[in-house]
């Protein structure tokens, strides 16, 4: 059964896969494509703003580009790319053979993919959403056409996928850890994935509720946000930010985890203050739920609310500071190797600190009345998201590329990418602090000459092209590596500390021939220090039970995709309602099939494993 099942075309294999390593690659490709689209949108924004009174794009189109840039980068690029790394690494890091629910893992990916596809269909079907990525109700309810409907339904579908992915990782990390892998022996990337997944679990329901309200208002005659009909337009802002602030930590905590792994590996040292790092991650996650209203200081909540949320926000600087110092102390006295991932890590620390400092400035409620809706805020959140999350994604991609694809990315090109991107990033966003302080409001499609903003905007636009060039070098690097790259060892960097570096690159589909016994923090390093070649097994070699691939996750998600089109057009065309119902029937029909068909999976037999391991050892 198993050998037959594996003889399939590549495309069908990936359409039906439930293997966490292949799903990681799917997330990487889809997230990467959306990242490129968001990047092109960013370039259009910077071209338009390069000179005053520019007419590269019209005002309306600019609003659409700006909205789609934010929405795409957060929901369709940053999160899926993090999910790619989580899927590729976390199960192996905890010594598991797969995630707890492989089928759900595939479903999560396809929901995200079809949600993102739906959102981007808006470009060809009458215009994209144009009310900003925050889509405040007072603005978005007035938006003509179907742009906002694409936003609402697309994010609803992809949000479902994210929620499923988050729950899957929670269950996996709680239940599937190898013997001896106690909570306080988990690598930091696993810990941050765990906390980020918990944040997903608690933060996405408010977004879901907000999107349902918005859907009712826009498509089904509701009035949750319409004051004229007794609604309240501020509720959207609260719901959005109750989700939106934890979302920032959902992104940045795994980024912290990636850098913790990289800094410790290339300093050849145990992470300094491991337990305080874990404590800080949990504390940041916890505090993240008590600060949402700092995005709304100027709404007029009153001085008491503003003061409380300001102080709560500033408190987050404490655990973040703990982490920064721990990274510095890990570097201190370490045997440092400046590989590409390490360059990103070194570049990340000062960049992120700058984003943090402007964060505390923004948190000062009285001062925020000056910063609000200016380019200062734009500079701040790009320092946090690009300086934190994107640098981490690029670092993690270089670091774990050999584990995902079995080949080393070129270090030379990797360093070129780093310098282009890093210089471009500071060039683009540093000057924006000052543009903001000089009064340039965010989200404007052009500006008049003679206000002292010309030079700043031009520098900023030049920086954007440096980042684009860095990204192109990365793509070239990927293509060259794919065709000519040298085969990676199991321990690709030579200094691997955690379990993923103990299995061959790329990992076999069963991950571990024998579940390992974890004997301490940095499990592989412990074995290396005792002079062992591999891990200590915790079980005899035996048949391994594997889940069967399934096409149903694709069908379930496709059904929702079709259904969303139907319900969106139900007021315009008579076929709308019918299509909406048919789509739901496809979804629920596929779910019904999943429930009634018994699928016991298959076994990889002991002999096949022994043969595969022998081949892997030679390579």
């Amino acid at each position: 059964m198993s050998t037959v099942a594996r003889k399939k075309s590549l495309i069908w294999d990936y359409l039906t896969t439930v293997d966490h390593k292949k799903i990681a690659i799917l997330y990487l490709i889809a997230g990467g494509l959306f990242f490129l689209m968001g990047g092109v949108e960013a370039l259009f924004i910077r071209i338009q703003l390069a000179v005053p009174n520019n007419d590269f794009v019209s005002a309306g189109l600019y609003n659409e580009i700006l909205t789609m840039h934010g929405t795409t980068m957060i929901f369709l690029a940053a999160m899926p790319l993090l999910f790619a790394l989580m899927n590729a690494v976390v199960p192996i890091q905890i010594g598991a053979r797969d995630v707890a629910f492989p089928f759900l893992n595939a479903l999560g990916f396809w929901l995200f993919f079809f949600g993102g596809l739906f959102l981007n269909c808006s470009w060809f079907l009458g215009g994209a959403p144009d009310a900003g990525w925050t889509s405040y109700a007072s603005l978005s309810l007035e938006s003509p056409g179907h742009g906002i409907d694409f936003y609402v339904l697309g994010l609803q579908i992809s949000g479902l996928g994210t929620l499923i992915g988050g729950i899957n990782f929670l269950v996996t990390i709680v239940n599937m850890r190898a013997p001896g892998m106690t909570y306080m022996r988990m690598p930091l990337f696993t810990w941050t994935t765990f906390v980020a997944s918990a944040l997903i679990l608690f933060a996405f329901p408010p977004l879901t509720v907000g999107l349902i309200f918005m859907m009712m208002d826009r498509l089904f005659g509701g009035n949750f946000f319409d004051p004229a009909l007794g609604g309240n337009t501020i509720i959207w802002e609260h719901l959005f930010w109750i989700f939106g602030h934890p979302e920032v930590y959902i992104l940045v905590l795994p980024a912290f985890g990636i850098f913790s792994e990289i800094i410790s590996t290339f300093s050849k040292k145990r992470l300094f203050g491991y337990s305080s790092m874990v404590f800080a991650v949990v504390l940041i996650g916890f505090l993240g739920f008590m600060v949402w209203a700092h995005h709304m200081f100027t709404v007029g909540m009153g001085p008491i609310a503003n003061a409380i949320f300001a102080v709560a926000t500033m408190a987050i600087a404490v655990p973040t500071g703990i982490k920064i110092f721990n990274w510095l102390f890990t570097l201190w006295g370490g045997n440092i190797r400046f590989t590409t991932p390490m360059l990103y890590a070194i570049g990340f620390i000062p960049s992120f600190v700058m984003g943090g400092v402007t964060g505390v400035m923004n948190a000062t409620a009285a001062a925020d009345y000056q910063y609000h809706d200016s380019y200062f805020v734009v500079a701040h959140f790009h320092y946090v998201i690009v300086g934190g999350v994107v640098l981490a994604l690029l670092a993690g991609t270089h670091y774990w590329w050999p584990k995902m694809f079995g080949k080393m990315l070129s270090e030379k090109l990797g360093k070129v990418t780093f310098w282009l991107f890093f210089i471009g990033f500071h060039l683009t966003f540093f000057i924006q602090h000052f543009l903001g302080l000089m009064g340039m409001p965010r989200r404007v499609f052009t500006f008049l000459p003679g206000q002292g903003w010309e030079t700043g905007n031009l520098i900023s636009s030049i920086g954007a092209f440096f980042m684009a060039a860095g990204t192109i070098v990365l793509l070239v690097n990927i293509v060259i590596t794919t065709f000519k790259g040298k085969k990676a060892e199991a321990d690709a960097w030579g200094d691997g500390r955690t379990l993923e570096w103990a299995v061959s690159s790329p990992a076999p589909e069963y991950n571990f021939a024998q579940t390992p016994l974890v004997r301490g923090l940095d499990a592989l390093w412990v074995e290396k220090m005792e002079g062992k070649k591999g891990l200590t097994p915790a079980e005899p070699l035996g048949d391994i039970h594997m889940p069967n691939p399934s096409f149903l996750p694709f069908v379930i998600s496709l059904g929702l995709f079709i259904s969303a089109f139907g319900f969106m057009y139900h007021k315009d065309y008579s076929w709308g309602l019918m299509v909406g119902i048919v789509g739901l029937l496809i979804t629920f029909g596929a779910m019904f099939l999943r429930s009634v068909i018994d699928d016991h999976g298959y076994h990889i037999h002991k002999e096949e494993i022994m043969e595969a391991e022998k081949k892997g050892a030679k390579a």
């Binding site: 598991a96 929670l170 239940n175 599937m176 608690f202 501020i234 739920f289 209203a293 009153g302 609310a305």
Partner: protein, 110 residues
């Protein structure tokens, strides 16, 4: 982890498990009876017109909280060992939700 490789003979501890199950069953029947009783009280509190809503509404909310406790601890086995983590997540969820609503009701005037 899901395959308990050294689970051994299923007949082991049969007597012990029987006794334990009987005890659990007793708990469940008692809490079920209590829950029906609490529901009846709730109906009575709403139906009895001498109680003002200022008494009956908080009162039935209190009864509801007790019922949720029974449900979780006796019917969904949260009283058993190995449920610490679900409890942690449940209570953090309740805490976060409470904090949010509390903020709305005290410091945010709309």
């Amino acid at each position: 982890m899901e395959n308990h490789t050294n689970s051994g003979n299923p007949n082991v501890d049969l007597a012990y498990r029987r006794k334990k199950n009987a005890e659990d069953m007793k708990h469940q029947v008692i809490s079920f009876a209590l829950m029906i009783f609490l529901t009846l009280i709730a109906f009575f509190a709403v139906g009895y017109d001498k109680f003002s809503p200022w008494f009956s509404v908080p009162f039935i909310v209190l009864l509801a909280i007790v019922q949720v406790g029974f449900q979780l601890y006796y019917f969904m086995h949260m009283s058993h060992r190995g449920h610490e983590l679900p409890a942690l997540f449940l209570y953090s969820g309740v805490f976060v939700a409470f904090l949010t609503i509390w903020a709305f009701m005290t410091v945010i005037w709309w």
